[in-house]
Symmetry: C2
Subunit: 219 residues, 2 copies
Amino acid sequence: ISPNLVFCHVPGRLSLLSSTSKYKVSVGEVERRLSSPECLNASLLGGVLRRAKSKNGGKSLREKLEKYGLRLPAGRRKAASVTLLTSLVEGEASHLARDFDYVSKTEFPVKRLAQYTKRQHTNDKQALAAKVEASLKLVKEFQDLILCGPPGMSYEWEPGVDKDVFNGLRHFALVTHGFGTPTIVTAINVFHRYLEELLQSQDSKENDGGQMGNGKCSS
Amino acid sequence: ISPNLVFCHVPGRLSLLSSTSKYKVSVGEVERRLSSPECLNASLLGGVLRRAKSKNGGKSLREKLEKYGLRLPAGRRKAASVTLLTSLVEGEASHLARDFDYVSKTEFPVKRLAQYTKRQHTNDKQALAAKVEASLKLVKEFQDLILCGPPGMSYEWEPGVDKDVFNGLRHFALVTHGFGTPTIVTAINVFHRYLEELLQSQDSKENDGGQMGNGKCSS
């Protein structure tokens, strides 16, 4: 059975607007959640998939899983700690990461922080610039490296990527349902933009006050 | 009315275990959500507070708000874009950030990434070390700066913090309900640990494979 086949649809947990559609959960995703490192049991998987609590010990869930070639032993002990991330299906985790990326790009005060830092280094501008250039190189190298694995790339290793790096990133993606790496990327991008602002002229009159509006709500 | 007074309790949206308690929502938080930059309207605020949809155009919500000295004009246009972050109350946003921090500390493959990078720089170890030292300084300066505002600090400015920096961080905290800054800090800490690993001896046999287990689920 193809891992891309849709196992079920799940309503979002974080949707406020009624127009938000459900998230598709693929057979591949269910297989990932049942496997290491999470090893979800029937009760938790049922919760993730928003199924009503069953009175038959997860029998109907197991029956559906079997139809798709998936096994879930009864009485299984879950492996990973349950956190708030556990409840997210990959579709919603990805959506949350995208929204956080959007908000960080538009609302994080990169210019203000950089202007403050530049003022602290008025007497050693060149030393600061040298440190910034060095950091930009390391940041880029780190960014390129973390994009070598899922969820941006396949969950299956392909030649061209260091296996240890891939497996480490794959593990982090599995434990965070795809939320982790894009979120780390978002924050590293914020730091990257801050570094680039540090290289801008001290006299820049621009600031990101504009994004903050006038502090009032319109009627 | 004190902003610390509890306005209501709200069940978590991301809780899987039935033992998870509700989150307290303070009068101060409701006031923040009703003010700029979010300017929530009655419909969205009701959704955030998990109130049943009212048939009276938000009248009961307005009445409760008035009891606590809060005003919500009818027909108000919301200001900020609705994202998946919008639905989180500050208590749950903070809980999610803490869980993400825990998972990033324990499951992100810092050592593997650092070992790969060190192998790429076998011929310029000293140059790499110099770049790392420079980056560590800038990372620390950035970290110290972003911890100058909420949610770690009060939402009210206090002397000792640059006002522009504070207001910028306050804006980001308001738009992300306290989720944003701790999450940026988490990711910057990951990068910081990666940088420190780059300074460790090339011959280190340690790796973070242990955290990944043996790939099997126990019965």
